[in-house]
Symmetry: C2
């Protein structure tokens, strides 16, 4: 499909693209470039590419597809290095979680004849780094492209086919529309998850260890999201501020109303909301974006991978099975 | 271990207890009683017990262990029915998510010689009803008991052994301490999840369908919690108001600070928080309360149960794999 694909940055997303491209034989050559030499060596040890270099300009030379896979805060520095080295006719894309900012920061460095088509695969896990990637990451997931109106339709089709070959469904939309949609589907949920986990990490040590013990009651779901890559997420909030603050404002208005319902004991209002929210999850499962298995299909007891018995988190007198000797 | 165990209510938790008791042969007889005859018939069809009756007083007669497994809002009504029918020496427990209220509402109906030991297994899924239960639900999970200081230690030990036999680790604590701890580990996370899913369900239809499509970017995690049983959760917020409002207050203070960091673009503050929160998840995994598998071990692409391709949620021009014919 391509002669040479260059991946700039090789974390969870970049390394997943590399693996999928190899598996599906979508390029003759994969070039990988990173800022840090340790990361490059990790990618080399994993056998993710064919060319490894710390020189981004060298990496993009002759490439017909170049994908930025770094946190968006690094894009300007990357563009300064590669802007003059991109081959005419090359497609230049990325995988960043914000798109308006990306378009603004990349465009000044893109020469005539290079096709800038920003992208955002809606896929990931809470793990990061080259070893966290896997070839199936994009299967059944959406990938959003945000080409400008003036973009070459042939280049857009090529990139669409590329993501299709990785297993994704592709949709084109305006960059600002993307940023507002992702603010509510992704950025505000991350902000809230980071916040509540932060609230817990501020608790006194003994309370905190109880929160960890009893986290299966709901809290632990939030910690997965709040374990996502800190630099990437810092950059998201630095570059999609307005949309995030708008959606956070709506969330806070609704939370004030719910807080009041709790305070005055308005049972019917709560029950109405809690019933309505179930329907949203059903829609997500029907849309193929979520597993219908209970608890995300997490292993439970002996039916899955047995969850180890806690041994190291026992700040209180604990009555063990059949015992009671400490109580 | 017991002659006759009576389960009052047979939803996710009650039916999981019934299955585990049968599997491990912990009682000669399991009696099941429900308010609605449909639920009772469902339990009978599933073969969860030995005695099925709509008469709660009849169900508890001669039982040496009685466990309330209904939403806590129903406890007073249940106690009015069973208070006079409990056998002397019986252990009376429950599985409710709040404990101060439960102690207060149950105690007046408990005759001398009956051992009231409220309990709370920290286990569950977002599914509800008799068919949602499974025997392994409690394995490796904590169960909190909140006996009063005057409680008979032998009875507490018996109930501790019972939960141990179901696979749980048991801890005793004060009811009010339980309620404050669970407010932050469970009740506030649920409130926040319900709230953000509610915010989404208030969006215009076209935006909402986009949120559903792109939910894999974070939002869908919240929907699992927000799909939990509405009546149960209404009752939690009606009966643990003060602790919930206290912890929600802390969450909101922290969120104001984070909102300001986003507004002023304070990258270092965000990065510091987002790094700190990762450690909490690691602690939960180390404590055996969470799987270390990425994405909760959700199926991804072809490596797990294939996630179906979305077909019914395409309000926009969608470029399919290799195509582009609609765009």
């Amino acid at each position: 499909m391509f002669d040479k694909i260059t991946l700039i940055g090789i974390g969870l997303i970049g390394s997943s693209i590399a693996r999928a491209v190899k598996l599906k034989d979508l390029a003759k050559t994969i070039a990988i470039t990173t800022r840090k030499s340790e990361t490059l060596e990790e990618a080399r040890a994993l056998g993710l590419g064919d060319i490894y270099t710390l020189d981004a300009a060298e990496a993009v030379a002759g490439a017909d597809l170049v994908i930025l896979c770094t946190p968006v805060g690094a894009y300007e520095e990357v563009m300064k290095q590669i802007g003059g080295a991109l081959a005419p006719g090359a497609i230049l894309s990325d995988v960043g979680s914000v798109k308006g900012f990306v378009l603004k920061v990349m465009k000044p460095y893109v020469a005539e004849g290079v096709h800038l088509i920003p992208g955002h695969p809606i896929a990931g896990t809470e793990h990061s780094g080259p070893s966290a990637g896997f070839a199936d990451l994009f299967v059944g997931r959406w990938c959003i492209l945000t080409p400008e109106k003036s973009a070459d339709p042939v280049a857009v089709d090529r990139l669409t086919s590329f993501w299709g070959a990785l297993g994704s469904n592709v949709e084109c939309m305006d960059a600002n529309h993307h940023d507002l949609t992702l603010a509510i589907t992704s950025h505000v949920p991350h902000l809230i998850a980071y916040n509540i986990v932060g609230t817990v990490s501020d608790l006194e040590a003994d309370t905190q260890s109880e929160v960890i013990k009893f986290s299966a009651s709901g809290f632990r779901d939030f910690t997965r999201i709040a374990a996502s890559d800190p630099i990437m997420w810092r950059d998201v909030f630095l570059t999609n501020r307005d949309a995030v603050l708008e959606m956070l404002g709506r969330f806070l208005e609704d939370l004030s109303r719910l807080q009041r319902a709790v305070r005055v004991g308005d049972g019917p209002a709560m029950q109405e909301l809690f019933t309505r929210t179930r329907a949203i999850r059903r829609s997500i499962i029907t849309a193929g974006q979520e597993t219908a298995a209970p608890d995300f299909g997490r292993p439970h007891g002996t039916t899955g991978n047995a969850i180890v018995q806690p041994e190291d988190v026992t700040p209180f007198a604990v009555r063990e099975h059949g015992g009671g000797e400490d109580a």
